[in-house]
Subunit: 256 residues, 2 copies
DNA sequence: GGAGGACTATTGGTCAGACCATACTTCCAC
DNA sequence: GTGGAAGTATGGTCTGACCAATAGTCCTCC
């Protein structure tokens, strides 16, 4: 089978003037397979944890070669929709997109899209990080607060020892985001932290004292959250973020 | 070359007790290629618009077969990092991740991840959509406002004619998001609208009158934005979104 | 009888070479 | 010059094969 040659499995033969304007369809069989499986997942015919037939099986069912099936699986895998395992009992297992994977996509977009300026990234982060403050104030538990304070203590100690890093600052913000107890928010905010980190690292070289002030602001913020004082917490976070942003901006300006 | 067999190009030979705990690395050559090209892009050695060597060239350079190179390209393509064109002068062109592509990833995550509840999605949307109000109030131009009002007029007409759809409501919110004039925010908020649409459509069947009230609220919001009245605009948007969310929630509850 | 190891079957990962479809280039004839 | 025809580079797919990884099975040895 499949003698008519490549492409004919995906295309509906543009010859003949009878069925004009009809098929045209996609030029890639692998993409057609991706769409099909994707739809099966979205419609609930395939659910997380379920196992797709083996590649060799899929070949026969789709009427394509193994190469094509494999490319389709790569695409699905890249989208986080399936996980492929090797060995007996291996194969493609339906899986839910992970926060990490999506996060990397967002991060790529933030850092590599030429239409997005650093100022826009900063602003978007501000919107998110301020927006969650009311949620965090409402939902943070005693343990959450205690954890944050521990982080502040550790930061203070690190500053005293001269080992404070920007990663520790980023860690604080990540933890705060987690206190919203909302996976969607956490996913959205996560990707911002690494790009921020790189610019902050650069900025810190210019202003090494920044760390100490930052930690102080962190601690004040935590206390405001503990008191469920939304306005105060918001104001503190805004001041903290805007000061950081200004510092980064200033440096990037002095370098241009 | 490549006689030692598959996998040996990606693995660093776990034999020998000298270099214990060292390599182990990834088992897939295609993934190694992806990482390498990805790094080249991030480091700026490859910039948008640039063309990668042909698949056959890449085979030789990486010392792998064409299948492997192609799988790598599929992964990069799925991530929106390259675009592949056929024909002479075709090939893989470096491209910046598009908002659409990333958006679909986020959407997949929001709708298919079992750890994310609809309530979380609603809340995240609330945070974003409220967070941008100050930005929108500050940055919206006369034309922007006029455009929104036109949309409201069209909606009113549609309601009178009985042809109002939830898509029109979603369109309004998408337009508002665009008024922030911030690509990052637009990218983050976009994916929320389609999932919202599906639940709202269902909700509307239960409460057909909702549309008219919604449009009234839209219009009031626009006027507040025009007056740069941030508190009022925020309050209006919050009320609007929370009412919608409640309606959706109520319906999904009555169905369970 | 139990524990450990060898065997086997299944399945993904890769290779090699081939062919077709597409789209740009070049060039020739008019 | 302009239109079309031939040439060429390139991706898309197929085929058939082998290797590598893994889980289950069975067999041996204690």
């Amino acid at each position: 089978m499949n003698r008519p040659g490549p492409g004919s499995a995906a295309k509906s033969a543009p010859r003949g003037a009878d069925d004009m304007f009809n098929p045209v369809s996609l030029a890639r069989a692998s993409q057609a397979i991706v769409d099909q499986i994707r739809e099966l997942i979205q419609d609930g015919h395939l659910t997380a944890g379920e196992r797709l037939p083996s590649e060799r099986d899929l070949c026969e069912r789709f009427g394509v070669s193994r190469v094509t099936v494999r490319e389709a699986l790569r695409i699905l895998e890249a989208g986080g929709l399936v996980t492929v395992k090797v060995g007996a009992r291996g194969g493609a297992y339906i899986t839910s997109p992970s926060s990490d994977r999506i996060g990397r996509g967002i991060e790529d977009y933030l850092t590599m899209s030429p239409t997005i300026t650093p100022a826009e990234v900063t602003e978007a982060r501000l919107v998110l990080e301020l927006g969650i403050v009311p949620v965090v104030c409402e939902r943070a538990t005693e343990e959450d607060i205690a954890g944050l304070l521990e982080l502040c203590d550790a930061a203070d100690a690190a500053i005293a020892a001269g080992t404070y890093t920007m990663e520790m600052s980023a860690e604080f913000h990540i933890r705060v985001a987690r206190l919203a107890h909302n996976g969607a928010i956490e996913m959205l905010l996560g990707p911002f932290h690494r790009p921020m980190l790189t610019s902050m690292k650069a900025a810190r070289e210019a202003a090494p004292a920044m760390g100490a002030l930052g930690v102080k602001e962190h601690r004040k913020f935590v206390l405001a959250v503990r008191d469920h004082d939304v306005p105060k917490a918001t104001a503190l976070m805004r001041a903290h973020l805007e000061r950081t942003a200004a510092r980064v901006q200033q440096r990037s300006k002095s370098h241009s």
